[in-house]
């Protein structure tokens, strides 16, 4: 047969198969893992890299974990070059050596063919606890990574099929829920094993050389698509700025600045002008910052580009050393996968909005809520949980309103919020409310998604909470004359009825039984001039309790009451361009 024809077919067939295999790995991981953050919330990603550690295929998972696998594997290759054998499994979490932040553990399994690594299967997953000063390992008061938990450099956990139990013990001994961690590591190892077995089956039909050829093509193909999309944007320097509330120590906002330089088919994201690194855990090390930059740029460039290393190599990222987005070791970094990763993306969106063909939304809510931990009085066991049910909401976008209850940008579409019922079985608290908050959505022709009111009453004794997050000072931005969304708010109500407002980053606080915690999360930013929103949509929002009558008048120029829209008054308001 014609060699060219062969190639055309082979590439498509191998691409489809690699995607099928990563899907299967993801399925196995989700179904067999144990910690809620992992099995319920799906806070993981898995993929396949080639022998050089270039990411070839991955499941739709957590965006900010998307590229981390390739960094981890490159660290393994650097350290273990020539010593990687069939049956080995590597483990890694150090943010300064190929990881995102300490709770995300990477498990890497090579497929060795004729003495050479043909593929690496990698899964990266967020574990409930990795030690450090506070349970859940989001230590808002850490000033060094050593206070954030256990650092694992790239090391072998399994050698030629033999588990190093000593290593396993050393790791599990340093966390608060050793059994869960061990089970979840097994789930990751199992998922990778499934990947490796399936990849080996590819060898029944194709020689290693042919497979390498096809994989090389897939990477080039993604690079070509990326460069083409870059060429579609006019040359120029585009600047975007976003702010982080604070670092939990100083109270001033922290600036992230990006200049996206487009020239021909070259794109460079230069973060010069970003504030220096800070004392608290909102620093973002190289892997997280680079990944955030890549996925932010790719969102602007288009949905059809495969998110693999080929696409990444077309996008250059410049991260000034010593800045917030590339701190010197041992700066603390645990919050980075939420904030500032989402704000890095947000800065890129604001820079590229005018040239991205209405592909980008207005600002999203930021994560803000406590981790909570203690002894469950129902079974006397230790537990640690997170306020996933307090997610904020998405920004509006040309053509539709933002959706409520969306993960922050760095986790968009990847996290699965737990059901209230599952949460109450896992944790000793009673949920009092989980509903849309009125007047929280950023106004716009396409408004943001409304924020969420989430209240829980703690019944465990004692319950500790640690606040972590952002977005109490800086709201989700509005786009194209749309208005910003609302701020995050968190409040405690004691059994005596006293109300206490919490900051976004706090050290552990002990709560008496019966205390009620309420998070009101951000509504998303609006897109487009609210004055141009269809009156009927404003009426529906009012009818549905998403906005009040006064807000309808003030933000949208629509006069309405329970009886209906007052069209004459509305015409007058809108024609006059009257704004209160």
């Amino acid at each position: 047969m014609n060699a060219k024809l062969d190639e055309v077919i082979e590439r498509a067939v191998i691409a489809n198969r690699l995607d099928t295999i990563t899907k299967e790995m993801g399925y196995a991981l989700e179904r067999s893992s144990r910690s809620p953050i992992f099995a319920e919330a799906c806070d993981f990603a898995c993929g396949i890299c080639n022998g050089d550690g270039d990411l070839v295929s991955q499941i739709n998972g957590i965006p900010i974990l998307a590229a981390a696998g390739t960094f981890s594997i490159k660290e393994v290759i650097r350290k273990y070059s020539g010593q990687v054998e069939e049956g080995d499994v590597f483990i890694i979490n150090d943010p300064y050596q190929g990881g995102n932040h300490l709770p995300d553990i990477g498990i890497i399994t090579p497929l060795v063919v004729e003495g050479k690594v043909l593929f690496y299967c990698v899964s990266r997953a967020h574990h409930g606890d990795i030690g450090g000063s506070v349970a859940g390992s989001y230590n808002a008061k850490a000033t060094e990574i050593f206070q954030e938990g256990l650092r694992i450099p790239p090391i072998k956990l399994v050698s030629k099929g033999q588990v190093f139990n000593e290593v396993m013990d050393l790791i599990t001994q340093n966390v608060r829920n050793p059994h869960m961690l061990q089970n979840d590591l097994w789930a990751q190892i199992g998922a990778n094993k499934i990947g490796v077995v399936r990849l080996r089956e590819l060898l029944y039909n194709y020689s290693p050389t042919r497979i390498k050829g096809a994989v090389g093509y897939l990477l080039d193909h993604a690079e070509r698509l990326t460069r083409q999309a870059i060429r579609g944007m006019p040359d120029g320097d585009y600047t975007g700025v976003e702010w982080v509330d604070d670092d939990g120590f100083q109270t001033n906002p922290i600036k992230i600045k990006v200049t996206v330089k487009i020239k021909g088919e070259e794109m460079m994201l230069d973060f010069e002008g970003t504030d220096p690194q800070v004392k608290g855990f909102v620093n973002s090390a190289l892997v997280t910052s680079t990944t955030a930059a890549w996925i932010g740029a790719l969102w602007a460039l288009g949905p059809d580009i495969p998110r693999n290393s080929g696409a990444f190599r077309a996008i250059k990222v410049l991260l000034p050393k010593g800045s917030l987005v590339n701190p010197h070791e041992p700066a603390p970094v645990t919050l980075s996968t939420l904030t500032p990763a989402s704000e890095i993306i947000s800065a890129i969106f604001q820079a590229l909005d005018s040239v991205a063909g209405e592909r980008l939304p207005a600002g999203f809510g930021r994560y803000c809520g406590p981790s909570f931990y203690g002894i469950d009085p129902r079974n006397q066991e230790f537990y640690v949980g997170f306020a996933f049910c307090a997610l904020g909401s998405g920004g509006g976008i040309a053509g539709r309103d933002g959706y409520p209850y969306m993960a922050p940008l760095s986790n968009y579409g990847g996290v699965r919020a737990p059901n209230i019922e599952a949460n109450e079985i896992q944790y000793p608290h009673l949920t009092l409310c989980h509903e849309i908050e009125m007047d929280s959505a950023g106004a716009g022709m396409w408004r943001g998604g409304p924020g969420i009111r989430y209240s829980i009453q703690f019944n465990g004794e004692p319950t500790n909470i640690v606040m972590f997050g952002d977005g109490m000072k800086v709201p989700p931005f509005g786009t194209a004359s749309g208005q910003p969304g609302s701020l995050n708010r968190v409040e405690l109500a004691t059994v005596d009825g006293e109300k206490i407002s919490l900051a976004s980053k706090e050290s552990a606080r002990l709560l008496p039984k019966g205390t009620v915690l309420t998070v009101v999360s951000s509504g998303g930013g609006g897109w487009g001039d609210p004055w141009r929103r269809a009156t009927e949509s404003v009426w529906q929002d009012f009818l549905n309790g998403v906005i009040s009558a006064s807000k309808a008048k003030q933000d949208y120029g629509v006069a309405l009451s329970k009886e209906g829209v007052d069209w004459a008054a509305t015409d007058e308001l809108r024609l006059m361009g009257y704004r209160m």
Binding site: V13, R17, S32, G190, I397, N419, T431, S455, L543
Partner: protein
């Protein structure tokens, strides 16, 4: 003396009638969205004519009438349905709209989610609360329910969905609400979440409940109309409806539980596969169905249909067991295209029926799988759909040349062949995902190739995934309707237990079994299934204590037997190893649910040997004798296979005789389909006119 099965699908309504002797007669008429009764009447009239009977005479002689319908799913897709309100626990009325944040498409912000089925102002919080163990914390007061009833009346609400927190643990609050509400509003249709599902997870339970509330009235109206029409025309037996799980139910139940019948047609296809597997004594069968827009895969394993508890309907999760059918966008009309980077892709977009593939000549500009097959010589342009749809090869070539061949630097036949191969890889991956993901070796399966397009791919697909044998059933074009004939009454009940799986059953075990059994028996009695015609299939959902997802493990034997009980954990560990790559034998297990599937026993399967089958008269069975001679082809055609045009023998299905051997490469032309037998495969028609295709050269 007649048994009628009707499968009303989106494009066609298919009919199969069996007479007392077991002979089958079929009809196929096009569906109508405007008047869904009309095609049924037309098809039945046509069938009656075949027996020289009027519609009234024909229906009067009918003993059994089985229906598979897409009325519910069509209503959903078109945004129709009853005006529905949703009652939730106070403080939680937004579960339906908040969803769970995870998205199928995360790289494109513009993609819209399926619409929210009940607007917020019709979602009402009830002041009640059940805790996580199903213990009541707060009960609703009657005054509030009265207010709600008043509001619903004012709003003209037709249907009410009720999903309260932890009703899956204790349905009491839902039951009380319904009782009070119906006292105030007797005419309104009420769906309780606890009637549909005992599983945890308020989001999925709410969507399931709301789908039922919205669609049941639509289905109910349709079934009432159908029943009164057919009764007027002489039908004396009840209409039976196929459900998503492949079981039958009656009109009363179907009208209340519309969500259970949304996939009744495709379920018929799986049931058809099941019957085929049974008849042919295949223990493992892959049923592949390729029509105009998609390729659907389902499995028969160890003679059983596979069920999933994690299904989605039109983007909405449903928490009821359904037959596991995996769909990919690769059908005859799927479009081949080059992405911006120059890589060849096929689907998921389809040219549909209008404009359809370029070769239809209806204005379609995009090359499709059908166009590729025509160029390769696999289809005869003058004989497509029995000559009813002439295909224009020039238009096919033009589209393939412009959109694929020129940009890739391939010749037109090469490009067509590449399209065929890429489509094939999508199908192979779908089969692969359905088998290996569940830990099954595809090589132990037989492939049943049904639907108009799959027989063109069947041997190639089998070879790709390592399957050694393919069956193209005689009734492949009406396969789903054919499957409905085999459906039986079926009732599923379950009990949430959530307890540690001990070495011996707990003290209440026998009691639980008795209760489930009597619950199922009551329903079977209502459906008219005699006690000696019942059989019971028990299974348990198990998991490791801290795991979040269960595995369903069959209880093989008497559920009250201790030894059978002790096999349970072994079954779990094995399944876990197979599915997820590891198991932990030292761990204890949690028994989450005990399930009982109670069903009508199989009627003993008559041998179809001696029965007539198909579109008209076929050969007498007496003429069946094993013949070792190869059939003579009456013509040859040039077909592009393996990089070159080569001569391939052409056969017509009606000329085939039982026992004949055909050696590939060969094409068999049948009404509504063409079968490609590749080199290295040989085919034989069996006693009941299924085409059995096996890998290997003649004589081996």
């Amino acid at each position: 003396m007649f048994e009628i099965a009707v499968d009303v699908g989106g494009t066609f309504a298919d009919f199969i009638v069996r007479d007392r002797q077991g002979a089958t007669f079929t009809a196929k008429v096009s569906s109508s969205h405007e008047n869904p009764l009309e095609p049924i009447i037309r098809g039945l009239t046509e069938l009656g004519k075949g027996f020289d009977l009027s519609l009234e005479e024909f229906l009067g002689l009918t003993d059994k009438f089985i229906l598979g319908t897409t009325v519910g799913i069509n209503a959903l897709l078109q945004g129709q349905g009853a005006k529905t309100a949703l009652i939730t626990t106070e403080g939680f009325r937004d579960a339906l709209e908040l969803r769970r944040s995870r998205l199928a498409e995360q790289w494109d912000f513009r993609v819209a989610l399926p619409p929210v089925l009940v607007p917020r102002h019709l979602r009402i919080g009830l002041r009640e609360r059940m805790d996580y163990q199903g213990v009541s914390i707060k009960t609703a007061d009657r005054a509030q329910i009265k207010e709600i009833a008043e509001f619903l009346r004012q709003e003209g609400v037709e249907s009410v969905a009720v999903c309260l927190l932890f009703a899956c643990r204790n349905p009491e609050h839902e039951l009380v609400f319904k009782e009070h509400l119906q006292a105030f509003l007797p005419e309104v249709f009420v769906t309780l979440s606890s009637e549909l599902s005992s599983q945890l997870g308020e989001y999925e339970r709410t969507t399931t409940t709301v789908l039922n509330a919205r669609l049941s009235p639509v289905l109910s109206n349709y079934l009432q109309d159908l029943r009164s029409y057919l009764r007027d025309k002489g039908l004396q037996v009840p209409i039976l409806i196929a459900q998503n799980n492949g079981g039958l139910t009656d009109l009363i139940q179907a009208s209340k539980r519309g969500v259970h019948t949304l996939f009744s047609g495709p379920a018929g296809g799986v049931k058809g596969g099941w019957a085929l597997a049974r008849e042919q004594e295949f223990s493992e069968l892959v049923v592949g169905d390729m029509g105009g827009t998609s390729f659907d895969v389902s499995l028969i394993r160890q003679g059983k249909m596979e069920v999933t508890s994690q299904a989605e309907i039109a983007g909405y999760p449903v928490q009821i067991p359904m037959l596991d059918i995996h769909t990919v966008g690769a059908g005859g009309g799927s479009i081949a295209w080059l992405d911006k980077g120059g890589m060849l892709r096929v689907g998921p977009h389809s040219a549909g029926a209008n404009p359809g593939p370029a070769c239809y000549g209806l204005g379609g500009q995009e090359p499709t799988i059908t166009d590729a097959a025509l160029i390769m010589g696999l289809l005869d342009g003058s004989n497509f759909l029995g000559g009813r749809m002439p295909l224009d090869i020039e238009l096919a070539c033009e589209a393939v040349e412009k959109k694929v061949a020129l940009p890739l630097g391939l010749s037109v036949p090469e490009a067509a062949y590449a399209i065929y191969q890429v489509a094939l890889s999508l199908m192979a991956d779908a089969v692969y995902l359905m088998t290996v993901k569940k830990g099954y070796d595809p090589r132990s399966f037989v492939l049943a190739a049904v639907g108009g397009a799959l027989p063109l791919f069947a041997t190639a697909l089998a070879e790709r995934v390592g399957i050694q044998q393919v069956v193209v059933p005689e009734l492949a074009p009406v396969f789903c309707a054919q499957g409905l004939h085999h459906a039986r009454f079926q009732v599923e009940v379950l009990r949430s237990l959530y307890e540690v799986l001990g070495e011996v059953p707990g003290p209440s075990w026998n009691q639980v079994i008795l209760e489930l059994q009597s619950q199922a028996n009551r329903e079977l009695s209502r459906l008219g299934v005699c006690a000696d015609q019942r059989e019971y299939v028990w299974s348990a959902d198990l998991k490791y204590p801290d795991q979040h997802h269960e595995i369903n493990v069959a209880i093989v034997g008497d559920a009250t037997d201790q030894e059978v009980w002790q096999q349970l954990d072994k079954g779990f560990h094995e399944a876990h190893q197979r599915l997820y790559g590891y198991s932990q034998l030292e761990k204890s297990l949690i028994l989450v649910n005990l399930r009982l599937l109670a069903q009508e026993k199989e009627r003993s399967l008559q041998s179809r040997l001696g029965l007539r089958a198909g579109w008209g008269n076929t050969k007498d069975i007496q003429r069946y004798e094993k013949s070792s001679t190869l059939s003579k082809a009456n013509e040859v055609r040039l077909v592009y296979l393996q990089g070159a045009f080569q001569e391939v023998k052409i056969f017509r299905w009606q000329d085939l005789e039982m026992g004949m051997h055909l050696q590939g490469p060969a094409l068999i032309i049948k009404e509504f389909t063409t079968i490609l037998i590749e080199e290295n495969w040989q085919a034989e028609l069996d006693q009941v006119r299924n085409l059995i295709i096996k890998i290997g050269k003649d004589g081996r």
